[in-house]
């Protein structure tokens, strides 16, 4: 079996497993594991977003928590106003409709990424990492010190938001929703990667001077990719807020940015299903070792070190071999 056929098998197994675990939990009446699977799906969605910037574009953003948190706050704030029945400061009413919240979360996060990208993409390497971190920290401290929406205490979402035709309060139905959105995002990622835009973006990661000499401006392509990346991660943030029914500045903390990078690296940078594999590993570690020792992150760190040193393609690379571009 050649490596691309093997990758499809690995991907299919991952998808099936992510579906089978909560299905088993549903039948066994273990709702905790359904919620866990939803968490994997939503973290994977956030990492699919980061994978566009980091994996396809080679932009090591250490500030994707900004988009994740902004998405979360969009969900929290809109639900807050809908619950209390008074409009936002800008006059708009709140809402509990997920499609509306998602559109707002993705749109605003995309715009934020566009603004941050415009300023950050003039730099590269360590400077880019630091400047994206700095912007995310600015937002973190802003959320921390903004008392209208809970400040450092965070903002609970009292009623889970609604999606037409689905009872989102039921863990299984909420999982199906998250799973479906993840599938759509993976399809979108695959489409993007195969397109002319993706071809230019991946080429810029490898050799920006060459691509400029062909007549394609690297800055523009990177910026658009960065905005798309931020929008997807923002969407995931809104869904995470609904899963936990709580948003707090912690969603914007640098540790969250780091977690997203860890997910992408563990799974396989630039690989279609890397985020799914990475999110599953992260959550599995949290559950399996989090109960045994409070130092579970130490063991996760060791695994990460192993991946970086010995398996650069992450779990997907380990199982399916190197990525090839026909």
């Amino acid at each position: 079996m050649d490596s691309s056929a093997r990758e499809w098998v690995v991907n299919a197994v991952l998808l099936a497993a992510l579906f089978a675990v909560p299905l088993w939990a549903l039948l066994a009446d273990e709702p905790f594991y359904i919620t866990l699977a939803s968490r994997v799906a939503i973290l994977a969605l956030a990492a699919v977003g980061l994978n566009i910037a980091l994996g396809l574009g080679g932009m090591v953003s250490f500030g994707h928590a900004a988009y994740f948190g902004l998405g979360g706050y969009v969900a929290g704030v809109l639900a807050f106003h809908a619950f209390h029945g008074y409009p936002l400061a800008i006059g708009l009413p709140g809402t509990t409709s997920m499609p509306v919240i998602w559109a707002a979360a993705a749109g605003l996060s995309g715009l934020l990424a566009l603004a941050i990208g415009t300023l950050s993409l003039r730099t590269s390497g360590i400077f880019f990492i630091m400047i994206t971190l700095a912007f995310a920290q600015m937002l973190f401290y802003f959320a921390l010190s903004w008392p209208s929406y809970g400040g450092e205490d965070g903002l609970p979402i009292l009623i889970r938001n609604r999606f037409p035709g689905i009872n989102t309060m039921r863990p299984w139905e909420f999982f199906l929703l998250a799973y479906a959105v993840l599938l759509l995002a993976l399809g979108f990622f695959a489409m993007l990667r195969a397109s002319r835009f993706g071809a230019a973006l991946m080429a810029i990661r490898q050799n920006p001077d060459r691509v400029a000499a062909l007549g394609i401006s690297p800055f523009g392509v990177r910026l658009v990719a960065f905005a798309i990346s931020g929008a997807l991660t923002g969407l995931a943030g809104a869904m995470m807020a609904d899963l936990t029914r709580f948003v707090s500045p912690a969603m914007m903390a640098w540790t969250m940015s780091g977690e997203l990078i860890v997910i992408v690296i563990l799974g396989g940078v630039g690989r279609l299903f890397g985020p799914v594999a990475g999110a599953a590993i992260l959550v599995a570690f949290e559950v399996l070792f989090g109960g045994l020792t409070e130092h579970w992150q130490f063991w996760l760190g060791l695994v990460l070190l192993g991946v970086v040193l010995f398996a650069r393609g992450g779990l997907i690379g380990l199982l399916a071999g190197r990525a090839r571009h026909g």
Partner: protein, 250 residues
């Protein structure tokens, strides 16, 4: 004579106290190969970077196809039809030979903001890429990642990428470097025919190739063009012999 495709007037660039390009005047006319030679450190690389747009000049003007391009970016000049090959092969390492050429074809076709259709099934890219690779003799290596090609094959792929751009002028930076005798001979014959498609500004160390190909030769030394003329004139020029040929022939 016709209007020059490319024209440099008084182009100057300093790095601190070093003047890497000093008041350079240079023209490239349709149908010709204009060779640029000079000893190491003469400023050839700087001049190529100035023409391509990687460096901005401190003074002077660069006109390309009748337009002042002095302030334009690398990408904008490329879109106007300046097709560049690099001295050290500069390709997309993970991409196959085919995809390297397809990327150039895509760049020529227009903006990259197309998100829907998969490139590998796009016959407007795959078909011409196949023809271009066949033309430079890389048909059998089309699906090999460019990082895994031999040095000579990478040089040919550089040419293929430049061809795919169908430029109004070629800017070839030492295309013969490291090619070996046989490869140099083949490439010389190839460039000889290529000048009919678009004029070539050729920076080259291989004097046999330069003297076989060039319609005109300009000699760069210390950032300054010290001589310019036909192959015969350059060979006879005493200053050139002293600055460059003497050392190379010795």
């Amino acid at each position: 004579m016709a209007e020059p495709v490319l024209k440099l007037e008084g182009v100057t660039r300093r790095f601190g106290a070093v003047t890497a390009a000093a008041d350079v005047n240079l023209t490239l006319f349709p149908g010709e190969i204009h060779a640029l030679i000079g000893p190491n450190g003469a400023g050839k690389t700087t001049l190529m970077a100035l023409i391509a747009g990687k460096l901005a000049p401190d003074a002077g003007r660069i006109t390309f196809r009748g337009r002042d391009v002095t302030a334009l970016s690398v990408a904008a000049r490329a879109r106007l039809g300046l097709g560049r090959s690099f001295q050290v092969s500069s390709l997309i390492p993970e991409y196959s030979a085919r995809r390297n050429v397809m990327l150039a074809l895509q760049a020529r076709a227009g903006h990259p903001y197309r998100f829907l259709f998969p490139v590998i099934r796009d016959r407007r890219l795959t078909e011409p890429a196949r023809q271009i690779l066949a033309r430079v003799g890389l048909a059998g290596r089309a699906s090999v990642p460019s990082a895994e090609l031999s040095h000579g094959e990478r040089r040919l792929l550089e040419i293929a990428v430049a061809l795919a751009l169908q430029p109004a002028a070629f800017l070839l930076d030492e295309p013969m470097a490291g090619m070996g005798l046989e490869g140099t001979r083949t490439l010389t014959a190839f460039l000889d025919r290529l000048r009919r498609e678009a004029p070539i500004l050729l920076v080259e160390h291989d004097m046999d190739a330069v003297f076989a190909l060039a319609d005109r030769v300009s000699v760069l030394a210390g950032g300054r063009i010290i001589a310019s003329g036909s192959v015969a004139e350059i060979r006879a020029d005493p200053e050139v012999r002293r600055a460059y040929l003497g050392e190379a022939a010795a």
